[in-house]
């Protein structure tokens, strides 16, 4: 099977041809192809011209394009392109035309380290920053060395890190994805959780994270209180996967600073935390009447913050009028939305918003889609699945004591309710 045959990376201004067999001029076909597809309304992340295939992603106003003439591993290509975006963003804060031009020397240096002959190499920006810096001028050859980390089995953490106070901050964040049909039945709902770390630990610490994972307790036979079934778990490179596979232990040497340790998906059906009922009546040529009821279906002690209910309105609507039982509603014409904001939404409460819009007497002939109502919110100190960090063991050979801090938060993910308008 083929590893990447051919790679050519273009960030509008920068090209790096990693192999010689696709002509650089082939990229000239990319934009016309893309434009044709866009006209037809059928863009596709893979396009081909002759025997050259373009695999591309778009970041802000830049296209990152890989070209190949072999049967390359497409998923690797996209994963790599996104990694490139990640690395450049960490280097330059923003990845955009200007930052590329301002730093083109570093960009070339990075492209050289990121990939060789179409094979991705070192893509960890923390490690790259140890030997490729933006102050290139100050670097004299004698001082620059390859960090051993680059080729180590532990390729994400360098040795010799020191902190005065050793601490780990653990954020458990759960996002609710929800799709509700126009008649109010839940079509699909799941929870995607992530565990993020901010590690401020000296040396090479060994960490072990304990969750109330049902599969773990099933293995050990000890059942202590509520457990949670994780449908699927994904880990950062640092976690020993075979260890997890055999005894569900999450053990790792963490990257320094911020990182996403793991993510998980839970299918258990939970009551939608914020339930929306809407009545949207359209009187052709005159007006649209909108009534939205939002209900907090979570514990009374909890509070949802920054709740935003976004209700689609016809693109030719005008003269909005709002009435809300709480919070504030406004019309965002550029997005064809009525947005109702509630700063603080206690559990068990129910609020109402009414809106009316005028419609022009001459109707827009263009068919409009039926975008769903979407809701944004976050509920702190609470995970909807009930997942908990039971312990975080930190062992380092110097024997220091370190404190783990845990925070929980539940928020909206892709939270869509189809309306009947």
């Amino acid at each position: 099977n083929s590893i990447l045959a051919e790679f050519l990376l273009i960030l509008v201004l920068i090209c790096r041809n990693y192999k010689g067999d696709v002509d650089m001029a082939e990229i000239d076909h990319f934009l016309p192809l893309l434009m044709t597809q866009e006209e037809e309304g059928l863009t596709c992340p893979i396009m081909s011209h002759g025997n050259v295939h373009f695999l591309w992603i778009k970041h802000t106003n830049l296209y990152l394009v890989a070209t190949t003439n072999k049967n390359s591993n497409a998923s690797l290509v996209y994963a790599f392109l996104y990694k490139v975006v990640e690395v450049f963003t960490e280097y330059f804060t923003e990845l955009e035309e200007e930052s590329i031009q301002d730093n083109f020397v570093v960009v070339y240096e990075l492209l050289d380290e990121l990939m060789d002959f179409g094979f991705p190499q070192t893509t960890d920006s923390k490690i790259l920053q140890e030997y490729i810096t933006q102050e290139g001028t100050k670097l004299e050859v004698a001082k620059t060395k390859v960090p051993t980390t680059v080729t180590n089995a532990v390729s994400w953490r360098s040795e010799g890190i020191k902190y005065k106070k050793n601490e780990v901050f653990i954020d458990v964040i759960e996002s609710i994805n929800l799709l509700v049909n126009a008649n109010g039945s839940v079509m699909s709902s799941d929870i995607v959780g992530t565990v993020k770390l901010k590690t401020m630990l000296s040396g090479m610490p060994e960490l072990r994270l304990g969750l109330n994972d049902r599969a773990l307790f099933a293995l050990t036979g000890r059942d202590k209180g509520k457990t949670v079934t994780m449908e699927d778990v994904k880990f950062h490179q640092c976690v020993r996967l075979s260890r997890f596979e055999s005894d569900r232990t999450i053990s790792f040497i963490p990257p320094d600073g911020e990182s996403e340790l793991m993510s998980y998906r839970i299918n258990t059906h939970v009551k939608p935390l914020i339930w929306i009922e809407s009545v949207i009546e359209k009187f052709s040529h005159s007006r649209v009447e909108i009534m939205v009821k939002a209900k907090g279906q979570f514990k009374k002690q909890s509070v949802a913050n920054n709740v935003e209910v976004r209700v689609p309105v016809p693109s030719d609507a005008d003269s909005p009028k709002f009435k809300t039982s709480t919070g504030h509603a406004k019309y965002v014409p550029e997005k064809n939305l009525a947005v109702w904001t509630i700063k603080s939404f206690p559990g068990g409460k129910e609020f109402l918003m009414r809106a009316s819009f005028g419609l022009p007497s001459v109707e827009n002939d263009e068919m409009e889609g039926k975008p769903p109502i979407t809701v944004n919110f976050e509920i702190p100190y609470f995970t909807v699945s009930g997942i908990q960090v039971r312990y975080m063991k930190i062992i380092e050979k110097s024997g220091y004591q370190a404190l783990p801090w845990v925070r929980y938060i539940t928020q909206s993910g892709d939270y869509q309710l189809r309306s009947n308008f």
């Binding site: 201004l13 680059v150 089995a153 699909s188 976690v239 993510s263």
Partner: protein, 966 residues
């Protein structure tokens, strides 16, 4: 680059002290200035100048004139400057090879620098300079770097071997770099191992026969160990490499699966997909009753579902692969329908793929939900998506019988929306529903007829006309409706014209009294006023039929039509197997084998899944071509039609085949539309003439099922075979040509006699035909078509009979054949079913071709490869034959065989007995190895044949016999 150029030039750069200042356009004389600066004594100025040069190069300006000046800056202790100069060299060395030599010394010196960064940089850059002269100097430094103490240098050197191999493969082999690279697989450093694997895989890809990767249980174990330690990208290289291995038995397979499964929890989607590939492949070998098999199946679903939360492009790749996986193993995701529901903000390419998978997963259990969703989608605004959603409703009706009624009523609701393209799409699918459930939903016809005027797409018009013709007796004003179409007859597309002709004939047969005028009108439009031969032919046939025997006409035209099949767009099983082996790659996204889109992939092996242990056939042969070796796995739905399906194939004779070649296989409706036209008309007519062979209709439903796959992707050697055709020019002639035999006697073919033979001339397979007209009337309009066959033989062009063939005239025609046609295993293997059409009728016959026609000119195997392959093919695959009464000595035999592309590779004489070792390569890439024993004075030869696809042995033996005795 012009585009980048413009963007740059249109910008006003600020006065910030950043690199962007280098991009400001300079006036003429720039090169001069730069030259001066490059040669400046001041280091800082020099560096600034190099930066300017690189900036110009980046935006596509030609700064090659500065080559010597830039190279002069190479010797520096400033790393940044060095990197820039190297970058410049990579870009321009090729255009200035002589100048590039100037840089060699510095490179060689840098390869010995105490700083590993510099050593690696030098060896990496040298490998990128694709100039032969430089390459020679690269060998020594590379050899040192491969053994460097620093892993960073070694990992870079490992990749450099692949680079060098790409430039000069021979050099790499001669210098023994491949062995060093193999040794690096055991390196202590995981990144070195990963890069060595990547480099070897890359090299192995261009040398399919080299046993480079030499995967054996020991090396597999090493790889599996490294898998736990290397970076995410290294894991992908290793997994992709593992996927090429075929375990010896189910136990080894299971143990590898167990060690690969943890990768399913990796955060990188590409790691997950590569792991899925390994598991899907190795799973094939596990007995289904094994507990572990069930466990593994369960483990696959969650990670596949999670892939749908990745970035949209990765979702797209995942969805295209899931599409393959649900066809191969529907049980994995059968309970996961909901995750494929389309979200409003999904990109269109994700939406369309999800829709496809929803239909595949639709079953009685979830159909209510699916239909509700589809109805929702059908009211969206994105035209392509809406169309596909409407078609999906039709496919659900056909797939899940219990839902048909609800589907029909949903479609009627949609027709009420009066949205033009929705209505048209709905009518096309309702026609399919009628064909699946005849006489059940005719009550809706009235509603359909109301929309007649709004139909402006040929497919929808044709569908509607078909419905009117088919149910003419229940539609009071059918004649008026059809007549209204007749007015603009000549402006209609062929599809509509043909359909209208058939529909009016049907109407006439049902209501003869009122419609005589109408039928005459259409017949004359079709025959006298039309230039389209297909239309004319069909018109004449109807005319003759109606005028000679109206009763027979009724039986034929109004004959009961076969029902259409459920799944209309499944990928053909052998292709599916191959694609499963390519999970995650472009092939899996395009749903085409790599040979269909990768240039020069000739000789590249078609991958296939390993067989379950114990099933005997082909256990260890991942490289056997599809045709002969491809036995469909038991789980795959049987969609390859049986041999009696000649007619199904011949349907293409009249209709231009659908020309969709995009990555998405065209949906059912299009093909079905085509089928129906003939289904109602010509084919039934022909059925009557032939005398109603019972098998003839059976293929109607099944044939289109396979069409999309075979059209989009030649199953056999594809491109490779085409090259074969050209490759043999200048080969010695004298290939064996069997004498002509009569294939079709005149009495069976209304006076047309066909005899012929096959020949291979200059690498081109020819079918040599002699057509004799033994009838009283002139014959014209000859055409020929083959049924699917074992080796994908198909006419490479039309049958060239330009002049009409008068009574008692004979004509000899040579028809070049290609081997890129659709493949179906025949029995006997070399059987070919042929249809020949002329102005009188269509005739069928079958003949057998000598398989030696398929022996290609480059069938001479390397000795070493021969030895290795002979050993590698299990003894079960060996067959022995006797050739009797042959009076040639071994020399003469060898010469004679060579004429037919049977190549002698070695000769050994043991105790007066000559042993000849020979190799043959078939057009689909299958190799046959032979050992021929010739004893002086003994007219009986013994021949042993070894092949990974042992089915061909019998045919090959027949060729030996024929060649040697003639």
């Amino acid at each position: 680059m012009e585009w980048a150029n413009q963007l740059c030039e249109n910008r006003q750069f600020g006065s910030k002290m950043t690199d962007s200042k280098y991009f400001t356009t300079t006036k003429k004389g720039e090169i001069f200035e730069l030259k001066a600066e490059l040669n400046s004594d001041k280091k800082e100025k020099k560096k600034e100048a190099v930066k300017k040069v690189i900036a110009s190069m980046t935006v596509g300006k030609d700064v090659s004139a500065l080559f010597p000046d830039v190279v002069n800056c190479m010797q520096t202790d400033n790393l940044e400057l060095k990197k820039l100069v190297y970058l410049y060299l990579m870009n321009y060395a090729k255009s200035q090879p002589d100048m590039a030599i100037m840089a060699v010394n510095t490179f060689v010196k840098d390869c010995e620098d105490p700083n590993p960064l510099i050593r690696a940089l030098a060896v990496r850059t040298m490998g990128c300079i694709r100039v032969d002269k430089i390459t020679e100097y690269l060998c020594e430094p590379l050899r040192k770097c491969l053994k460097d103490e620093d892993p960073y240098v070694r990992k870079t050197a490992a990749v450099c071997v692949a680079k060098l191999h790409d430039i000069n493969a021979q050099l790499v082999e001669d210098q023994g770099f491949l062995d060093t690279l193999k040794d690096l697989i055991s390196d202590s450093n995981p990144m070195v191992v990963a890069n060595a694997v990547a480099a070897l895989s890359e090299i192995a890809e261009s040398h399919p026969n080299s046993n480079l990767l030499d995967l054996n249980p020991q090396s597999i174990n090493k790889l599996l160990t490294a898998l736990n330690e290397c970076t995410e990208w290294g894991q992908i290289f290793i997994l992709d490499c593992l996927a090429n291995y075929t375990p010896r038995d189910d136990r080894e397979s299971q143990s590898i699966c167990e060690r690969v499964t943890p990768r399913l929890s990796h955060a990188n989607s590409a790691v997950v997909l590569s792991a899925v590939k390994v598991l899907m492949k190795f799973m094939e070998m596990l007995p289904k009753d094994l507990d572990y098999y069930g466990t593994l199946l369960k483990k696959l679903a969650p990670p596949l579902v999670t892939l749908l939360s990745a970035e949209p492009e990765l979702q797209y790749v995942a969805l295209r692969n899931i599409n393959l996986i649900v066809q191969k193993r529907p049980e994995i995701l059968k309970h996961e329908m909901k995750v494929f529901f389309v979200k409003y903000n999904d990109p269109i390419y994700v939406k369309l793929e999800k829709l496809d998978i929803m239909i595949r997963l639709a079953s009685q259990a979830n159909i209510a939900q699916v239909l509700a969703e589809l109805k929702e989608y059908a009211t969206e605004v994105d035209v392509d998506f809406v169309r596909k959603a409407v078609r999906a409703i039709g496919r659900c009706a056909i797939k899940v019988e219990q839902s048909a009624e609800r589907c029909v009523s949903t479609l009627l609701d949609l027709i009420q929306t009066k949205v033009n393209y929705v209505v048209q799409e709905a009518i096309v699918v309702i026609k399919d529903i009628f064909r699946k459930y005849p006489n059940k939903y005719e009550s809706v016809i009235a509603t359909l007829c109301e929309n007649l005027d709004s139909l402006d797409e040929p497919e929808a018009r044709a569908a509607m006309i078909w419905i009117v013709g088919e149910y003419a007796e229940r539609i009071d004003n059918a004649d008026e409706l059809l007549e209204s179409f007749l007015e603009g007859f000549h402006d209609e597309s062929t599809q509509v014209q043909l359909q209208l002709l058939t529909a009016i004939v049907k109407l006439f047969l049902k209501k003869p009294t009122e419609t005589q005028e109408l039928v005459q009108q259409v017949l004359s439009l079709a025959t006298q006023d039309s230039d389209n031969p297909d239309l004319r032919d069909r018109g004449y046939i109807y005319w003759r039929l109606l005028s000679t025997d109206p009763v027979a006409a009724k039986e034929v035209v109004l004959a009961e039509k076969p029902l259409i099949s459920e799944e209309t767009d499944l990928i053909e099983p052998t292709l599916l197997e191959e694609l499963i082996c390519h999970i995650g790659t472009l092939a899996s996204v395009y749903h085409k084998p790599p040979s269909a889109f990768v240039e020069g992939s000739r000789g590249v092996m078609h991958k296939r899944l390993p067989a379950r242990t114990g099933s005997g056939e082909g256990t260890e042969c991942p490289d056997v071509g599809n045709a002969a070796g491809g036995s469909a796995p038991e789980a795959a739905p049987s969609i390859i039609p049986s041999q009696g399906d000649l007619l199904g194939d011949l349907l293409n004779l009249d209709l231009a085949p659908p020309t969709t070649t995009g990555p998405t296989p065209s949906t059912s409706g299009m093909q079905m539309g085509g089928m129906d036209l003939l289904g109602g008309g010509l084919e039934s007519l022909l059925g009557g003439d032939i005398g109603g062979s019972p098998a003839m209709g059976a293929g109607f439903g099944a044939a289109p099922a396979v069409m999309p796959a075979s059209l989009n992707a030649p199953v056999g050697g594809g491109l490779g075979d085409l090259f074969d055709l050209g490759g043999g020019v200048g080969m010695p002639m004298g290939a064996y040509i069997p004498p002509k035999t009569v294939w079709l006697p005149a009495m069976k073919a209304k006076g047309l006699e066909i005899s012929g033979t096959f020949a291979r001339r200059a690498g081109v397979i020819q079918m040599e035909l002699v057509l004799t007209n033994k009838a009283m009337s002139v014959m014209t309009d000859f055409a020929i078509q083959f049924n699917r066959n074992s080796f994908g033989l198909a006419p490479a062009g039309p049958l060239q009979v330009l002049t009409p063939l008068g009574p008692n005239q004979t004509i000899e025609v040579s028809l070049p054949l290609s081997t890129v046609g659709p493949v179906m295993k025949m029995d006997p293997l070399n059987n070919l079913q042929v249809a020949v059409k002329n102005n009188i009728d269509v005739f069928y016959f079958s003949c057998q071709y000598p398989i030696s026609m398929l022996f290609v000119e480059d069938g001479k195997m390397e000795r070493q490869v021969f030895l290795a392959t002979w050993k590698d093919i299990p003894n079960d695959n060996e067959s022995q034959f006797q050739i009797q009464d042959c009076h040639l000595n071994s020399e003469a035999a060898s010469n004679k065989l060579q004429g037919s592309n049977i190549f002698t590779i070695a000769k050994r004489t043991v105790e007066g007995q000559d042993m000849l070792y020979m190799s043959i390569k078939l057009s689909n890439g299958i190799w046959v190895l032979a050992e021929l024993k010739v004893q002086a004075g003994n007219p009986n030869y013994t021949i042993s044949l070894k092949c990974r696809a042992p089915e061909v042995s019998q045919c090959v033996f027949q060729c030996y016999e024929a060649v040697l005795k003639n």
